[in-house]
């Protein structure tokens, strides 16, 4: 099987701390220096090699939501470091740094906005915040977002960018898998549509719970989708990974997602889904 263009490693991590807002960003794939505004206009896709730059939650929201319609509903919560966890560095320090870098309280932003005139409740993860990991705050924000969508009877759109559970909150992070699934059941009982958008990466605990239970599941081209990361698989089993393994197209071929969408077409694709579901939930 030849490796297809969209199986390639199209995502590049750029400098995740953007506090200083340099005018230029260097593409991690081809080395090109790209003018930041030019990059934004090009959906954060390298104009030279086509690599996808990681998006912050804010950038993702700006790319998907109609201008001027977004209302941030993120609950004013932050992690209380429930285990007083410390590895080489105290979790409290990691949290503080992540907050400073991102301006966020945790790895997710929740809000309400219009996508081409369709109101939705949106939850968008931010990979910069401790790898988009799901701890108690992310779990609570997601559950709240689904409850809000059920209450307002408008679709729920979840943009995933997560390496898995937040290790530093231990089993409390595992329980967020159950919590989000419980809230998803509530959404289902209300008959409210749930659309998941899987980006790079969508793995681990988030994927083994809420992110696998959408009505419609889109994958951004090149997204990494799975449970165990490729490195863990190789280390544990010694298996050779097939070409394109766990990438968006592989997931499509294995029946895991409904479609693979290039970044520049993502909003349009969401609009197609929301258009076809117009009026649902019914009976308002």
């Amino acid at each position: 099987m030849p490796i297809r263009r969209d199986d390639r490693d199209r995502y590049v991590e750029v400098e995740l701390r953007r506090g200083e807002e340099p005018l230029w960003l260097r593409c991690g794939a081809c080395g090109e220096l790209v003018f930041r505004r030019r990059l934004r206009e090009n959906n954060y896709i390298c104009p030279r090699c086509g690599a996808y730059f990681f998006l912050t939650a804010e950038e993702r929201i700006a790319a998907l939501v109609d201008e001027g319609t977004f209302q941030d509903l993120t609950l004013p919560l932050e992690s209380k470091d429930p285990l007083s966890f410390s590895d080489r560095k105290p979790y409290a320090d990691r949290l503080r740094e992540a907050k400073e870098t991102t301006g966020l309280k945790d790895a997710i932003v929740v809000g309400k906005g219009k996508i081409s005139d369709h109101w939705v409740i949106l939850a968008v993860m931010d990979f910069r915040f401790i790898g988009g990991s799901m701890g108690t705050v992310v779990g609570e924000q997601l559950a709240f977002a689904m409850e809000r969508a059920a209450e307002e009877r408008i679709p729920f759109v979840f943009v995933v960018a997560s390496g898995g559970a937040r290790v530093q909150e231990g089993v409390l992070s595992l329980l967020q898998m159950v919590k989000t699934v419980a809230a998803r059941e509530l959404l289902a009982e209300a008959g409210v549509p749930y659309i998941a958008v899987l980006t790079y990466p969508s793995t681990g605990g988030v994927m083994a719970s809420i992110a696998s239970l959408a009505d419609v599941t889109l994958a951004e081209q090149g997204a990494l989708i799975g449970f165990a990361g490729p490195r863990v698989i190789q280390q544990t089993t010694g298996e050779k990974l097939p070409p394109g393994f766990q990438r968006a197209r592989y997931a499509l071929e294995h029946g895991l997602v409904d479609g693979v969408v290039p970044r520049e077409g993502l909003k349009e694709e969401l609009v197609r889904v929301l258009d076809v579901l117009e009026g649902i939930p019914s009976g308002g």
């Binding site: 595992l174 719970s209 239970l213």
Partner: protein, 318 residues
């Protein structure tokens, strides 16, 4: 703190003496009794001071009572059901119908295998998507026939392999959680040995979650955490401590409902006693749950998980 080596040395000495008494008829009974008392005290001291890493090692002992053996000891009768009805049957995640306290129930459990061949076939208890799909099928039987569900958890985690990913292990776990949450019957989960990550939580979305005293329940293995966060495999004991994976810590955190005591030295010292303790605890929780009306039970379960970990998140302080 008593150190393990001292205790093991004394254990050996006592054993030697006992052999002498028994085989050669040497009359050392008084000395033996004294020594045994001393050993028992040492043991108590040692096991009272077990570190979380000690528990990890206890939970992983190959002679710890596990899966099938324990289920057969806990239940009066066990009738295994096999297959996911899709194409496979996973020996690492098993289940079926059983009698417990004179009533019909459904059970699900990880099985790590006893013989080396079986352990290979069971991938040491790391289940495949087909295992979790069989679990969902058995949960559906529980729902249809109104049978309580008891799960026994003992897995390092779901199997991380190419085929497992191609068959959507993530989705299979998610479906298992969702199905278990939606069951109209009482559900009790017991963590027997290792409660590893998603592979464990797939069977742990229960009304009540119990843990054997030396079992572990963790978001990642201590070794994994050591490698990723400490960048040092030798940091596993520290990681075990930091992860709060032991039963007492998880009880404190409100994650579990009860710690089931093990005999001194661990479950392997007295498998029958362990099974009896598990049985008693499960029956007690089942009977409490059966005393609740369905609506109440479901509301309690929903709230339990809807609020799970809320103590971990709070209003900003700064």
């Amino acid at each position: 703190m008593v150190d393990e080596r001292t205790m093991r040395a004394l254990e050996e000495k006592v054993a030697e003496l006992r052999r002498l008494v028994e085989e050669d008829g040497v009359d050392l009974r008084d000395e033996l009794t004294l020594l045994e008392q001393r050993l028992q005290a040492l043991r108590r001291e040692y096991y009272a001071g077990l570190s979380d890493w000690d528990r990890v090692r206890l939970a992983r002992r190959p002679d710890r009572p596990r899966g099938l053996t324990l289920v057969q000891a806990v239940c009066e009768d066990f009738y295994e059901l096999r297959g996911d009805r899709i194409g496979g049957d996973d020996p690492a995640l098993r289940g079926g119908l059983a009698r417990l306290g004179g009533k019909a129930v459904t059970v699900l459990f990880h099985h790590r295998g006893t013989s080396p061949e079986e352990q290979r076939a069971c991938r040491s208890g790391m289940a495949l998507p087909t295992g979790y799909r069989k679990a969902v099928r058995i949960m559906e039987i529980a729902a249809r026939l109104k049978l309580p569900l008891i799960t026994f958890i003992d897995t390092p985690g779901a199997y991380p392999g190419v085929e497992a990913e191609a068959a959507n292990i993530a989705g299979a776990i998610a479906k298992s959680i969702a199905t278990m949450l939606s069951l109209p019957v009482p559900t009790v989960a017991v963590i027997l040995g290792e409660g590893g990550s998603g592979g464990a939580v797939a069977l742990a979305a229960a009304d009540r979650v119990l843990m054997l005293e030396n079992a572990t329940y963790t978001v990642i293995s201590p070794e994994g955490a050591a490698a990723i966060l400490w960048k040092d495999a030798a940091a596993a004991p520290q990681a075990a401590q930091a992860l709060a994976l032991s039963a007492p810590r998880l009880l404190e955190l409100g994650v579990i409902d009860e710690v089931i005591p093990e005999p001194l030295g661990g479950a392997h010292v007295d498998p029958e006693g362990t099974a009896q303790a598990v049985r008693d605890a499960v029956l007690r929780h089942l009977s409490e749950l059966e005393g609740l009306p369905l609506d109440e039970r479901r509301k309690l379960r929903y709230n339990r998980y809807r609020n799970a970990g809320n103590r971990g998140a709070g209003a900003p302080t700064g």
